[in-house]
Amino acid sequence: MTDTNAKTGRFHGLLQSRAIWPLLALALILIVDGIISPNFYDIRIVEGRLFGNLIDIFYRAVPTAMVALGMAIVIGTKGIDLSVGSIAAISGAIIAWRIQAGDPHGVVLFYAVGAGAICGMWNGGLVAILGIQPIIATLILMVSGRGIGMLINLFYGGTNPSFQSDLLQGLSTGSIAYIPTRLIVFAVLFVVVWLVLRRTALGLFVEATGGNAAASNLAGVNAKLIIFVAYVICGIMAGWAGVILTADTHTSDPVSVALYIELDAILAVVIGGGSLAGGRIYLGMTVIGALVIQALTTSILISGLPPEYNLIIKALVVLFVLVLQSEKARRGLMTKLWGKA
């Protein structure tokens, strides 16, 4: 056996950086897009905002990225939250309901995000206080949350009520200085989450709890409280995703809004280098993960292939990204390429 470390040492710094692989995947997807659709990179200004496929990828990735940020924190505690889609549905139903009831729209926004926080408290309570396994604890809200959304709609007789709100629609589909507002909303949320996590000790506590809850507890970290807070943050982010998605179509559709968003969010976290075994949170990388997924979705939509192919392509690309990211796979490959030379 020879030492491959020395030979590849020059690349080492580059290859060691976690960020490189998801970014590489993103770049590859975009290059392929450019080949299948010649005017893919065009960016114009339409109706006072930037317009084009590239903008679309950012634009459409926002809800997934929001949920994924919250998910990253929950996963950091070694948990998982399956109920994020349902939370978004509840928050959307509340928006339609309270707007129909005539509340000021700023207050409605507060209710919607607040509902997310309350859902997060419910999940957090089940996991942290009752000690129920996260996947099952959040399954409860996942199952019943969309029912709650439908029920809220039925309160005032609507099945899938639509509404008009300059404020909310502005947040979702509007633009400020050519930039889609939702990107700005997302940027603000990202910065807030980042500050809360990294400028305070919360991030360390979350990671410690996820790494070894018993040890953290003995070290004086209130592990239960930390887990609880993680689910609340996740709920708030899901509430925001509900706002963006519901305002996008200005319709509350609890059955199908944000369907399977939990899977995409978890995928984003993992593509961003997070481990479901807990212990580490990478916020920036998670956003890149969400972009990879959305770039993929957008490419499938513009590819012109029949929809039967969507899932297969998605699966293959996801596999490709994961293999690219797997250190073990790369090491194996390198020994094959250089090791035997």
């Binding site: 396994q133 978890i266 993992v270 481990s275 039967e308 297969i312 699966a315 073990k328 194996g332």
Partner: protein, 323 residues
């Protein structure tokens, strides 16, 4: 006797207790509920979920997870139906499908261990891949019309009362017995527990982690494929959307049955009752029948919550000699 009172069986007893309790409560609330007919229905209607869940129990015991279950059921179903329409014998297709399930599972296991990628994600890719493959096979629902399929569905054992033990329930009970044997009385089974208990220790204690991981997912794939065969024969058709989100029901069955998602702790027999509890919840709601769609969803959640809390309470209150 002391072995029976062993602490580790507590979650299992609690699950059985909860199951019996709901069955009795349902009987008190609705007429015709507490009958062998309903019991027979629950066994048959949940058979494929429970079969898949037995495989999932192995995976979860080993500390992993398998999300490809539902798609595997769908894929096996459409493949069987399409091959049937091409004149294949159902028995031959069933064997082929079981082999495929085993191989596909083994492949997932190999990627998980060999490339060190998290099982949640690999099997999620498996979920997409197999569901996508369903659409490649056909986008229509295709009937299975072979006489052997009729023969299979005609196998029924009468229970006292009006109940029937249908063929799918029989297959399920047999595969459960095999699952229990493999998990608790073979070296492979013990290795699975060891792997889920502490992977690094298991490795140092001489467990072949690679082989065990591959085998665990292969077994899970085999069980999912069997669930797919049972599902296909149960509905005598294949449908590309069949089995969507069944993996969640399967995982829920496993966990309700007392198995810890973190691995290493649990019993295969618990999965049977976990699955039947889910079936009971649905049946109760149908017997009620007066709820609208919104309340149907909400009450499934509430019932699920109630059972989990009851279960925890039972386990907790019998287990007072914990610190």
């Amino acid at each position: 006797m002391s072995a029976l009172l062993n602490k580790k069986y507590l979650p299992f007893y609690a699950t059985v207790f909860v199951f019996i309790a709901i069955f009795l409560i349902g009987g008190a609330m609705y007429k015709n509920f507490l009958t062998t007919r309903v019991l027979g229905n629950i066994l048959a209607d949940n058979s494929f979920i429970i079969i898949a869940a037995i495989g999932a129990t192995f995976v979860i015991l080993s500390g992993g997870i398998d999300l490809s279950i539902g798609s595997m059921i769908g894929f096996v179903g459409v493949s069987m139906a399409v091959l049937d329409s091409m004149g294949w014998n159902p028995l031959a297709t069933a064997v082929l499908m079981l082999a495929f399930g085993f191989a596909f599972g083994a492949f997932q296991g190999w990627v998980i261990d060999g490339l060190d990628i998290q099982p949640f994600i690999i099997t999620l890719a498996g979920l997409f891949l197999l569901r996508g493959a369903c659409f490649m096979v056909t986008i229509n629902s295709v009937p299975i019309n072979h006489e052997w399929a009729d023969l299979y569905t005609d196998i029924k054992i009468r229970l006292p009362g009006k109940g029937l033990l249908r063929s799918s329930a029989i297959v399920m009970l047999v595969s459960l017995a095999i699952g229990i044997f493999v998990a608790h009385f073979t070296r492979f089974g013990t290795n699975v527990y060891a792997l889920g208990g502490d992977k690094e220790s298991a490795r140092l204690m001489g467990v072949n982690v690679r082989r065990t991981t591959v085998m665990v997912y292969a077994v899970a794939g085999l069980y999912s494929a069997l669930a797919g065969v049972v599902y296909a024969l149960y509905t005598k058709s294949g449908y590309p959307l069949a089995g969507s989100t069944l993996e969640l029901s399967a995982i829920a069955s496993v966990v309700l049955g007392g198995t810890l998602l973190t691995g290493g702790v649990g019993m295969v027999a618990g999965t049977l009752f976990g699955g039947m509890i889910l079936g009971l919840i649905s049946t109760l709601i149908i017997f009620n029948g007066s709820l609208n769609s919104a309340w149907i969803l909400i009450s499934s959640g509430i019932l699920l919550f109630a059972f989990i809390v009851l279960h925890r309470f039972l386990v907790g209150s019998f287990d007072h000699n914990r610190q």
